[in-house]
């Protein structure tokens, strides 16, 4: 329990969380987060969080409730502001709030978000095609929207029948596909997925995870994947950071971190995943000891 966490949150300003063995990433950086802090009253929700995401990369943030993973994601998207620290997309500072519609739209085109609950993130009165058209009109007033809508629906595996449907006529998985299509409509550089598959059934979850993998292969979009599920992290991320009480306790290549966790908290999280031969009593004791 005394060993130092490997690659514990890099100091503010260093910003290289990518390769644990020091091999520099060949790909360009799309998202850079530097020394984020955010307090709510006396609680330090995000405490000196820094990481980078390579172009076309996929970075997981795992942690339990209160770890600060969702607050971090919301700061990256711009739904929440940081007390200090910076968020750069293609080296442009997003945290520097420049006023005006053009800047706001430009910021939205950099980073898009997909939320956990597909039932809450769509307007119940707007058919799917119109949802996409609205976004396209706002961002690309002169584009060929019909063609683009067909393209987006195709990309997320929906047909013209679904385009005419209202959200309530769709299943949970189909709604999440719509939310993904809407996020992709503006061709963002980064997609933030906050527990985006947590509310789905296992068989549907697998379909969406495969879809997300395909989209990343095709478009080179970068993912910031917020989740509590280590199996999901294993499946869809290249790199992972583990957060606890606002701080990064461990980070590195996903395969490496999951196979050889260095921090006792990461080990506890791994042991907590139920499987045959699981020892809940031991986990409960380890949790109290930590």
């Amino acid at each position: 329990m005394r060993e130092a966490p490997m690659e514990a949150g890099p100091g503010p300003g260093t910003g290289t969380v990518t390769s644990p063995k020091g091999e520099p990433s060949m790909r360009k950086t799309v998202l850079e987060v530097l020394g984020l802090h955010r307090a709510y009253g006396s609680v330090q929700a995000v405490d000196d969080v820094s990481f980078t995401l390579a172009e076309g990369g996929s970075l997981g943030i795992v942690g339990e409730s209160g770890s600060g993973k969702t607050t971090t994601a919301r700061i990256v998207v711009g739904l929440e502001s940081a007390d200090s620290g910076r968020v750069l997309v293609h080296r442009r500072d997003r945290t520097e709030h420049r006023r005006g519609r053009a800047h706001r739209l430009a910021r939205a085109r950099e980073v898009q978000m997909v939320f956990q609950d597909p039932y809450l993130s769509l307007d119940p009165r707007t058919p799917v095609g119109a949802v996409l058209r609205e976004t396209l009109r706002l961002h690309f007033p002169d584009g060929d929207h019909d063609r683009r809508i067909a393209e987006l629906l195709e990309q997320v595996g929906l047909g013209t029948r679904e385009a005419a449907a209202l959200p309530r006529q769709l299943s949970g998985g189909q709604r999440q596909r719509v939310a993904i299509a809407r996020a992709l409509a503006v061709q963002p550089a980064v997609l933030v997925l906050d527990e985006a598959v947590a509310a789905l059934d296992v068989s549907v979850q697998a379909q969406i995870l495969n879809l997300l993998a395909d989209i990343r292969d095709e478009t080179g979009i970068g993912y910031l994947f917020i989740t509590h599920d280590l199996g999901v992290v294993r499946c869809v991320t290249d790199e992972v950071i583990v957060m606890r009480r606002g701080k990064i306790v461990e980070s590195g290549r996903t395969a490496e971190v999951l196979a050889r966790p260095r921090h006792p908290y990461t080990r506890l999280l791994l042991d907590s995943v139920p499987r045959p031969g699981w020892d809940p009593r031991g986990i409960a004791e380890a949790r109290r000891a930590l």
Binding site: S203, A206, N210, C235, A255, S272, W278, I283, A284
Partner: protein, 325 residues
């Protein structure tokens, strides 16, 4: 006597083309932990709620649902009340939705025994304190309000409440789904202790196959209102005999599995507006043949494994090389 004994249970709702539950057989013995696994709409929650006589409006039922030998489906309201306060208790997914935030934990825990068992206030409070200790909390929690407790602690309170009437059977419907993984482990460890200590049977309803494998003695897998497969947890996960079980296992993102694409199950479960001829899983099944589309398979014992039963025409072919692929 079997603590819970469900036989040929069918449940139909108005405005649906097929029964929501189409002949469910399920048992839970004393001290036994049984997992009921399925996806949304499979009927797993309806099955567990039926055990307390909690039926949707307009429901028509056939078959029997016996708790300690008494059929819940034919009970008079007074008997149902006794069932719910003493023989069987339920723990729901979201403790915050199941508890009045304006009343102290002590009031919440003692209400049922005071009203129904006619216990004296002092005796009820003593029992509540004892149960709080059994779930790893202290009597100090009696004075607290739900808002002062974390989700994990509140779920412990719900378990204490379930134990107040000394039930023979606890029904737990996704009791750890809203909790963090490390908290989930604590709650599961607790439920395991209680079974040894109080001898209760536990029906654990979950969508999580890994969790079902980890905690239960026996597992039932449900699909479209029927039991697809049942058997001892270890054998069932080691070599699933129903293609649906195998497909579910393969589509679960697992720590041991390599990164990359998952073996997703294409399509989705049949809606309640579709009449079912044949096996409900046939349209999504890699092994399906003409027979599957014509005739629903019965739940039959697996050759050589008497404790297992499976409803599949091709159960002998399931899992050959495809599992752990």
């Amino acid at each position: 006597m079997t603590t819970l004994d469900i036989q040929a249970y069918r449940l139909s709702l108005p405005d649906t083309a097929r029964p929501v539950l189409a002949g469910v057989d399920l048992t839970v013995g004393a001290r036994e932990t049984v997992a009921l696994v399925g996806e949304s709409g499979s009927g797993k929650s309806l099955t567990s709620r039926s055990v307390l006589g909690l039926l949707p409006a307009g429901a028509r039922t056939e078959g029997t649902v016996r708790v300690n030998g008494e059929d819940v489906l034919t009970m008079a309201p007074e008997q149902l009340r006794r069932l719910r306060t003493s023989s069987a208790a339920m723990i729901f997914q979201d403790p915050r939705a199941a508890i009045n935030p304006l009343r102290r934990i002590g009031d919440f825990l003692t209400e049922s025994v005071r009203l129904n068992a006619g216990a004296a206030p002092a005796a009820a409070t003593a029992r509540a304190a004892e149960m709080l200790e059994a779930v790893g909390l202290t009597a100090a929690a009696l004075r607290q309000y739900p808002g002062e407790l974390s989700g994990g602690m509140l779920q412990r309170v719900m378990i204490a409440a379930a134990l107040m009437g000394d039930p023979a059977l606890i029904l737990a419907d996704e009791p750890t789904t809203a909790l963090d993984v490390t908290t989930q482990a604590e709650v599961v460890a607790l439920l395991g202790d209680l079974r040894t200590r109080f001898g209760t049977g536990l029906l654990f309803v979950t969508h999580d196959l890994g969790l079902a494998a980890a905690i239960s003695d026996r597992v039932y897998v449900m699909y479209a209102g029927r039991i697809a497969e049942t058997g001892p947890a270890e054998a069932l996960f080691d070599r699933p005999r129903h293609p649906y079980t195998a497909a579910l296992l393969n589509s679960t993102p697992r720590l041991e599995a390599p990164a990359g694409r998952l073996a997703a199950i294409e399509g989705r479960p049949p809606s309640l507006q579709e009449e079912l001829v044949g096996c409900p899983f046939a349209p999504r099944c890699p092994l399906a043949t003409f027979l599957c589309s014509q005739q629903a398979p019965a739940l039959l014992p697996v050759a050589g494994e008497p404790a297992r039963r499976v409803a599949c025409h091709h159960s002998d072919r399931t899992g050959e090389g495809s599992v752990h692929a």
